[in-house]
Amino acid sequence: MIEEIKLKTPLDDQSVERLKSGDRVLLSGYVFSARDSAHKRLVDLLDKGEQLPFDIKGQVIYFVGPTPARPGRPIGSAGPTTSSRMDKYSPRLIAQGLKGMIGKGFRSPEVIETMKKYTCVYFAAVGGAGALLAQRIMESKIVAYEDLGPEAIRRLKLDNFPVIVVNDCRGNDLYKEGVKKYARNT
């Protein structure tokens, strides 16, 4: 059995520095959901010199657009979406104090460099395990951009949400290391 690290949000530099690529983490506490359209709006606000709709310092953003919740449930299916679509926007948010991101798939060299500079971590959750992951989300509340529907920004309360550290704040990349280990040269 691989050891799991229990971690609570918000994160600070110290807690991010302790994480290394390949670590299995159970994340608890509040995170914010945001995907394509919400990221565009957040960065537009920064461009105009305006305030973000939530204080981003120390926070974690989960790239997710859930299915509608059934009555009595906090959320519907809620697995990660492809992170690279947020690569254009993430460096701006990291520079504002964002400490972690949850998604799936590789990040651009620019994002990885910015994560090193500002001490930020990138986690992967299992893509396509939205039913399983939804059971680790205890609350969901829309905090901005309700008009975006599934793309609205929600504050989610996680309880032992399973993720894996892909990019730590030292530039290590589990996607590269893991694949190298199992690749066969034919």
């Binding site: 299915t67 299916s77 798939g105 694949v179």
Partner: protein, 279 residues
Amino acid sequence: MKEVRVEDIIRGVKDLCISANYELERDVMAAFEKARETEESPTGKEIFNQLIENAEVAQKELIPLCQDTGFAVCFVELGDDVRVVGGNLIQAINEGVRQGYQEGYLRKSICNPFTRKNTGDNTPAVIHVKLVPGDKLKIVIAPKGGGSENMSRATMLKPSDGVEGIKEFVVNRVQESGANPCPPIVVGVGIGGTLEKAALLAKESLIRPLGKPNPDPEIAQLEKELLSKINDLGIGPQGLGGRITALAVHVEVHPCHIASLPIAVNINCHSHRHKEVVF
């Protein structure tokens, strides 16, 4: 002449949209169970555990398998001796999609490509109709996720690129896709025809039962070889390294122009969703 009422088509399509998003196909579950045994990476094994548990939770707790409940891609085989009564076939399918995505608590993911404004009901569906002999109407719904669709590509190879060029294109496409299309993936390949025919063949190959070989032994051999090359890439479940990158490769072939060698790769995520109804 057999008559099929639009009310039945609407109900049928609605039910397919819902069941495809909540119930993992048995052949996919069997493939996960087998892969969990053969996967050498401990992380990979754990991912198969989570995918199996995810399918169980989805059905028991009524939560869609994935939050991306997809574009409703629809393959129709309309028999020459079938008459749709009470309305129009395409409108009925779209109405079924609308009702299924609403009543099934499925995500509406379809938007205007420029303004990005959501259409609000997951329509219009993408519908392919084939006229076939007989008195049956078959409808397949294959909800297609954006993450895997985005990793798909079509190109026009030169005839001189040959089968080696085909293999290189398919394997490179999977390699460049890495973790994005949610491996372990199913790789659909369309070879020949025209640009759109190759893309359609690639998509259509994905509704074949998982891992069922092409009836042409030479093409079946190509599928086997491609699967082996893809699994040698080491991408593994979720791209975190491992032996199982793809569960299957499905290839479909059509004659092409003497000047061309069209090829398309359409990647499906591990949920490999498709359900059918026959009237």
